[in-house]
Symmetry: C2
Subunit: 158 residues, 2 copies
Amino acid sequence: MARKRFDDSNCSVARALNEVGDWWSLLVVLHAMYGTRRFVDFQKELGIARNILCDRLARLVDNEVLKKVEVGEHGSRCEYRLTEKGRDLFPIVVALRQWGDKWNPAPEQTPLDLRDRESGEPIQPITVQSADGRPLSVRDVLVKELVPKVDSAKKKAV
Amino acid sequence: MARKRFDDSNCSVARALNEVGDWWSLLVVLHAMYGTRRFVDFQKELGIARNILCDRLARLVDNEVLKKVEVGEHGSRCEYRLTEKGRDLFPIVVALRQWGDKWNPAPEQTPLDLRDRESGEPIQPITVQSADGRPLSVRDVLVKELVPKVDSAKKKAV
DNA sequence: GAATAGGGTTGCGTTTTAAAACCAGATTCA
DNA sequence: TGAATCTGGTTTTAAAACGCAACCCTATTC
């Protein structure tokens, strides 16, 4: 059977993963954030198969994470640039990087050092924060129960 | 051909995605954060095939995101609980949820309302922050260049 | 003692993925 | 001008991964 899709899930995490939750999409977005814009550069940097890259770029464009821009006067050259929606993935990518650096540090390699361009200081670890800025763990957060519009049999389907 | 793995990538984002970057793993972690612990409950809530769930749980246990705990005196019943590494995925899950709610809102449905248990106030949107707490966009952050230990041909392989 | 629940595993057919070959338009090189 | 090259793809083929249903084995419950 076909892979299960989450397009119409009532869980926004599932819907997000539906767009960027596969093995390659977030890496493509990451490289776009580094400044990569051209097909061949994504291909070389990621070592991804060309057909898969085609598919991922097209899907990201469909989902408005990237936009395809024709450059070079006569066509035949184009760029893939992040949209605002795509740039909005920045905290997710940084959080993944910090998690990876913390829990799966590469031996013999210092983690990438991300810094605030203005002050030159390292950025903070990403946390969930309360209204007044305290970091919150899973246990500090509750889901405010809403009256579901659907039948209760579906209530658990997050 | 086999799916490409990123185990030994020198990019911590790739290494993170190697552990939780497939279609199901983060949803399993999400439900674990909601309190789900038993095989059958994950299966019912997610609607995932049993063999796939087996595989994902085993992989998450291997990667120490979950730990398998035997409960019930005579075995035959066990629970999957988040480790600290697993709980540390909280900001990523919340950031994904906020991104999904912002860019792919479900029609006819109010997004989940996450609140600080202590104050009852809604949590903040997750952002990348400077040392003094200013929110930073992609463009506000730079990578401090480090002298790579590897040959320059590999330098671009993030 | 039979039925049920929990946690899997096994087969089987379908879908994705990876790799490499091939393509066609535009540009550069000789 | 004509050949080689660059760019962004599509096609082909084989190996995994996925989804489903059926089966299994160990408790526990009726």
